[in-house]
Amino acid sequence: MPYAKPEILISTEEVAGRLGDPSLHIVEVDEDTAAYEKGHIRGAVALNWRDELQSKRSRDVVEKEGFEQLLGSRGIDESSEVILYGGNNNWFAAYAYWYLKYYGHERVRLMDGGRKKWELEERELTTDTTNVTPVAYHAKDPDSAIRARRDEVIAQTGRVTMVDVRSPEEYAGVLAAPAHLPQEMAQRKGHIPGAVNVPWSRAANEDGTFKPVEALRELYIETAGVPEGGPALAYCRIGERSAYTWVVLHELLGIRDVKNYDGSWTEYGSLVEVPISTGPEP
């Protein structure tokens, strides 16, 4: 059985075969924002999730005009074929994927396996500068159907399937952040009552590629109880890992009504007078 949208994935082999294709816009988005400078796929540009994909005015995605300027500055217009890749099983590349969909970009794909697969296959990385000619980008209005907001999350607690995609330790309230990050956090630890815990990484094979659709169905629909048509929402700590799960649920499994709650635990766990659960059970 194929993925609902198999065309959103492109293999490392196919990318390698299309290097130099001017119609292809390869974009690296890494958790480690310095990784690109140390070496990247030839012809790739970078988007910095910390400085460029966050609004400077408030905690939010960048506004439409800012998004247009950002993509245009990388030589990308709204009809461009964009290939995203990054480290950590494409964690932040998947966030950028969700972000581009939020602003209505049609032709965006993830390089399956991401930077790790590319590197472990001993494919070329370069430090050469990628020259781009800025173009005009015309974004669509934001697609609120794929983004969950705080008030909605509170109102729907216990009514909508919520998938907490963090590690079991974060879900249980033992850790405040993934184990490769420092743990100093102000908010309470735990999870949204009723949320099921399916760590995002369970959707990935060891080489960073997505698991076959049958395995994903078993993981999310049969075991975790995500309804086939939704509604469901995914959250994590800051909305990036849950964007990865959003890609799995919405794009690979074809669940129509799925939202990414990008405020995630750093927002929810800081709210006053909302219920929190701890421990391994929902």
């Binding site: 590197e119 590690s167 490769h180 760590p199 369970r202």
Partner: protein
């Protein structure tokens, strides 16, 4: 609590190796890429963990580590001990 380490091969630091931290159930918890000095760092809670090293060319090494409260642990993963996929895993 810190679990930090270094990946070396033939005595030289390996940049661009991938190190995964796996929980007691084998669950992927985090993954980092080694820097130019071959170093990596995690911040796990006390308990039993497995470090899984991936080197270019399909070489993999697993090493179990046990962290106790308040401990900072340093480990060295040696690339020569990594096995190509399909070979028996190294003993822990």
């Amino acid at each position: 609590m810190r679990l930090h380490g270094r990946v070396v091969r033939s005595g030289e630091p390996v940049e661009g190796a991938y190190v995964q931290l796996l929980g007691p159930s084998g669950d992927f918890t985090a993954e980092v890429r080694t820097d130019e000095t071959g170093r990596f760092v995690f911040y796990p809670v006390p308990g039993d963990w497995v470090l899984k090293l991936f080197l270019p060319g399909g070489y993999v090494l697993e090493q179990a580590v046990s962290l106790s409260e308040g401990q900072t642990m340093s480990v060295q993963l040696v690339g020569e001990n990594a096995r190509a996929r399909g070979e028996p895993p190294p003993s822990r």
